[in-house]
Symmetry: C2
Subunit: 657 residues, 2 copies
């Protein structure tokens, strides 16, 4: 079987540029605020082969190809390469100034992951490839998501086209007469009606009656068309990700079921070429958002291709001379996400490809540390943490906690990859940092981690540092108990108002067994959006706002995204905590099912594993697990414990307690 | 006046890719063996402006543009930007996936060198621009060299088209009938006759009689056409550099005049978008060749644009993770060339733009040094030095001498740019290295620098280390005298056989006052090529070879380049040493004229300076200098000394001794 091959990660890096170029805002293409890397323009692909008899290979390339056998060029650029018998080294160099250099050979030597790639004649590394590009005509440069036709659900009183829910795709319009048109898209009816106060529109002209035009891909629920279009003929060429949703959740609480459904829809819409933050405005790849998408992906698609495209694109090419997305915290989230991919899939190949890139990113990060080894936001860094009022100067405790976790990720990654010296060094650095974090930021008086140190003064109380310290296990048991009580369950620190940080807060609360509180919060907060008609989860939600206030952000009346993936957290929470499914060794080689339904009496759901799935049903105080997972699991339920043996055939293993 | 602007050096980096993609060898596009960098895909251009009244600017871009005033996007992508009155910051971001992102604004704010450019939202640096791109329609992406028609000089007995001398351009053929054709190019008649044994050919088909086709640009003197072409209608669209040749040289020795002429022609042919090594085979930018072209350029075009395009392209983008052209020595030559550009033009702007890039290249280099601070070729490095039999393992003395000179260049560059601490650090490192070179490699027994140290043993005697040590002034006077005698003027070390290293050897001999020996060598070696009919200087010449041996190299019968710029050294030698013109302060602010005509009795010539030129005439034992240079010079002649005052008007200053 032959596949197109390229310089590793360059497909993702190139695709990211193409996807980010599609962001339009107020009628202009909106450039990314970070360095937009291009793929290598010239790549040599190499493999040794042995043939008993002379053979041949047919060559296809994106770019100009140059063929050498044992280092000598063959004097021919015919599509068919003659391969001498015996053991030889075949090298094909491909150059392109305008597209990803890529190669496809079929015949007696075929391109696949066994080839090595090099951009400088020296450093050969395993090439990049994907099962998606498995024929001469299935070229990487032609990659796009599938589409399908979708008719509008109806028309609003004001004459807007209404798709009934948030959708994404290419609007098709048919003209009733020649003339100029402007199409205004709205995630809300108000936005579509607001004309150029909204975020996205397309303008052009019909040349003749009956002409059908295909507009660029946009997010929308409502559409207003100014101009001579026949609205009855309008339809959407809906672009979708084509991935199977491998999870399920339902319970006796229909509100919770609806929240799961709308969260799943949000995840679906934001899972495209990459895990995008949202589909209307940025359509960008952000590491903070991506980590949450990766976590949600564990409990929905478990699709490693989208995860890896996303994470490779985020890191980009060298040099690493600025934090990912320009944000200090996002470099840490990126590293954590790389580890998450490994831990849930059990496949170290991507981790291996990213390891040196993590090391160089950490080297860069550690260049800007204080005497205590604390990372300090530089003038060139965006210290983000959350959309919330908070002081961010000096040493922020939450950034140290994230740095500690990232160092742990590097130590664990090094260990997986057999780099014992690295593993020990990172573990030692992490240990020392943990000691300093506890020594400096732990307040005996308040019984929690404080917010920051400025000019030697430790001050402030926010939820962020205790939250991540609890989530990632930085705190010893006694301090964990105190921090849960004094921060998470207390009103002493300001409440969190973004779905983004609520995700982690709920995760931490669920780990602390606070299922009832979390479910109440989900019903109120996510349910509050549904009560306002949300068909996907918003970037931000404040129940105290009214009317148009819900749509405004960044000083723009419709700046807020109404389909933002960091709001899809309930998908993760249901799978991870309500159903209670989690690997305890990489790739579900070992796992546990520890359901935690809180006040729910009947719950039914499923979670994907790399080689099967786990169905969990809770009813009448009993739990039943049906597994097609090849790993060894354990079911934990109300103090009881039952092994979940590996599923070895096609029949699921069923265990009840 | 408005100009197109871009991210600094990206025009050169992008152009290099386009030029290198034109190399064809045996019918295939031949990829570079180094990393081929792409320009940044997204660049923000920024400038503060103040307007008394509202203004406007017309926008042209290569790529998609996004306009902000004071950080807020303007809701419009019209070609005309409305500029509010008062003081504001205008930012225009430009993104392109397929061409250099570039911007042109004309109106009340115009793009020029006062804009800053940034690829990551943080690090704004002075933008790149060129006076060549000064109108909306003169776009960087359309850049190409001028062309002019050239008719063949005649036809050879074998039916080859003969242009009479080496030429470069696009061959135009007219068909006599439909049918396939193959066009074989030859720098020699033998090559054109050799079919696919030669280096370059083009194949295709005429569709109808009378069709005129334009073939890709190629180097040639002779052309063989197989196919139904009407050879009487063939002509060349000659591509030339369009630069004025600002130097002259003639003397009573016609052989020397002819050598100067053919050398000048070689320089002309190899001075294209960049200083290329040769025009037939590589058509590539190599730093070793480029340094010599830069030196020759001082005494011919004094064109800073070609120099800077060449040097910026050679360095490429970060990370610096391999030596320039993969060759250890070439990183040093590149740094020396950057300094040469500054020293002869007096304009520090390019030096300033390259300084950090030199520092990072030096950081990389110094990562691979031995306990003595000696650089050692790594497995990933090509240790080139010269096409000659020599041992290259361990610590090579010549590489240490070049490293020392590069450290001196960095120290001097830092001083020019006001970086005193850097200057001191590099000077100290250079000083320590010089001490170690003398301590380890100087042989009291042989009275010269030895070749290498392997496993603690200093051994071998070649010309390279003493040569560069003399040229760059590493040796104290007594040792310089010994090394000249024991290496340069001795047969103890193997003779140099490439024009490449002969260039430096002659330079060193001339500095030691050995004009007669050098002139004899030039007459024999360069004259030897002319005797064989050369119309441009060859990559290599061995007088002992005969017939087709002169054309072979790299194991290929016509692998040798017959137009190779490193052979154009006589242009430099005549201006620098025979006429004796050299700046003694940057940009000819101070200079000397120290003619050294050897056995020549009548010499007349001219050398360009940044703001004028220096004409030197030697006859009957007297010398006369006519200067339009604004700097202060001194004429040194047979123990006499006369000031050459600055030329202040339009009349040249004339001084005789």
């Amino acid at each position: 079987m032959a596949y197109w091959i390229w310089f590793p990660h360059d497909f993702s890096i190139d695709l990211r540029g193409r996807v980010e170029m599609r962001r339009q805002e107020h009628g202009m293409t909106c450039p990314s605020i970070w360095r937009m890397d291009a793929p290598s323009r010239a790549v040599a692909f190499r493999r040794a082969y042995t043939l008993d008899a002379p053979g041949r290979a047919r060559l296809f390339s994106q770019g100009e190809a140059y063929v050498c056998i044992d280092g000598a060029s063959i004097p021919d650029r015919a599509q068919e390469i003659a391969l001498p018998a015996g053991s030889h080294v075949l090298t094909v160099s491909v150059m392109s100034l305008t597209s990803l250099p890529a190669l496809y050979l079929e015949g007696d030597v075929e391109t696949d992951g066994s080839f090595f790639a090099c951009e400088n004649n020296v450093d050969f590394v395993p090439c990049g490839w994907s099962p998606a590009f498995c024929a001469p005509g299935k070229r990487p440069m032609d990659y796009c998501l599938p589409t399908r036709p979708l008719s509008p659900a109806g028309r609003t009183e004001e004459g807007l086209i209404d798709f009934g829910r948030e959708v994404f795709g290419f609007l098709h319009l048919t003209s009733a007469a020649p003339g100029a048109y402007t199409v205004y898209y709205g995630e809300s009816a108000a936005e579509a009606l607001a004309g150029k106060q909204g975020e996205t529109w397309d303008a052009g002209a019909f040349l003749r009656a009956g002409e059908e035009i295909r507009l660029p891909s946009r997010a929308m629920r409502f559409v207003r068309v100014d101009g001579p279009a026949d609205l009855s003929a309008a339809w959407l060429e809906e672009e979708y990700n084509g991935l199977p949703w491998r999870a399920a959740f339902s319970c006796e609480d229909e509100r919770l079921n609806a929240i799961y459904g709308v969260s799943a829809r949000t995840m679906e819409l934001c899972t495209r070429e990459f895990f995008l933050d949202g589909i209307k405005r940025d359509r960008w790849v952000w590491a903070g958002d991506a980590l949450q998408s990766v976590l949600i992906n564990h409990y929905s698609y478990l699709d490693r291709a989208t995860t890896r495209r996303t994470l490779a694109a985020l890191r980009g090419r060298d040099p690493f001379n600025q934090h990912i997305n320009t944000i200090l915290d996002y470099t840490f989230y990126w590293m954590i996400a790389v580890w998450e991919d490994y831990f849930y899939t059990g496949d170290p190949s991507f981790l291996a490809g990213m390891y040196e890139k993590m090391v160089s990113a950490m080297d860069y990060t550690l260049r800007f540390t204080s005497a205590d080894g604390f990372v300090v936001g530089q003038k060139r860094d965006w210290v983000f943490v959350d959309w919330a009022d908070m002081r961010k100067e000096g040493e922020l405790c939450v950034e140290q906690v994230l740095l500690w976790k990232a160092l742990r990720v590097l130590a664990d990654s090094a260990a997986v990859l057999g780099k014992a010296a690295d593993a020990a060094a990172y573990a030692a650095r992490a240990g020392a940092l943990r000691d300093r974090i506890l020594a400096v930021f732990w307040s005996e008086e308040k019984g929690t981690l404080l917010h920051q140190r400025v000019d030697g003064k430790v001050q402030g109380h926010t939820r962020y540092a205790p939250l991540f310290a609890l989530l990632y296990g930085l705190l010893p048991a006694d301090k964990a108990r105190l921090a849960t009580e004094n921060t998470l369950l207390s009103d002493a620190a300001p409440a969190i108002t973004t779905p983004y940080m609520r995700f982690y807060e709920m995760d931490a609360l669920l780990r602390a067994g606070r299922t009832r509180e979390v479910l109440e919060g989900v019903r109120a907060y996510w349910g509050g959006m549904l009560d306002l008609g949300a068909t996907s989860i918003w970037e931000q939600f404040d129940p105290n706002e009214t009317g148009g206030e819900h749509y405004a952000m960044y000083g723009r009346p419709f700046g807020r995204s109404l389909c933002h993936c960091w709001g899809a957290g309930p998908v993760y929470l249901c799978g991870r905590h309500i159903l209670g499914v989690a690997p305890t060794a990489p790739g579900y080689a070992q796992y546990e099912v520890r359901p935690n339904p809180g006040d729910l009496r009947r719950v039914e759901g499923a979670v994907p594993t790399p080689d099967g799935s786990l169905s969990v049903r809770i009813e009448d105080g009993r739990v039943r697990v049906s597994s097609t997972c090849r790993g060894e699991g354990v079911l934990l339920w109300q103090g009881q414990r039952a092994p979940l043996p590996p599923c070895e055939g096609t029949e699921p293993v069923v265990v009840e307690l």
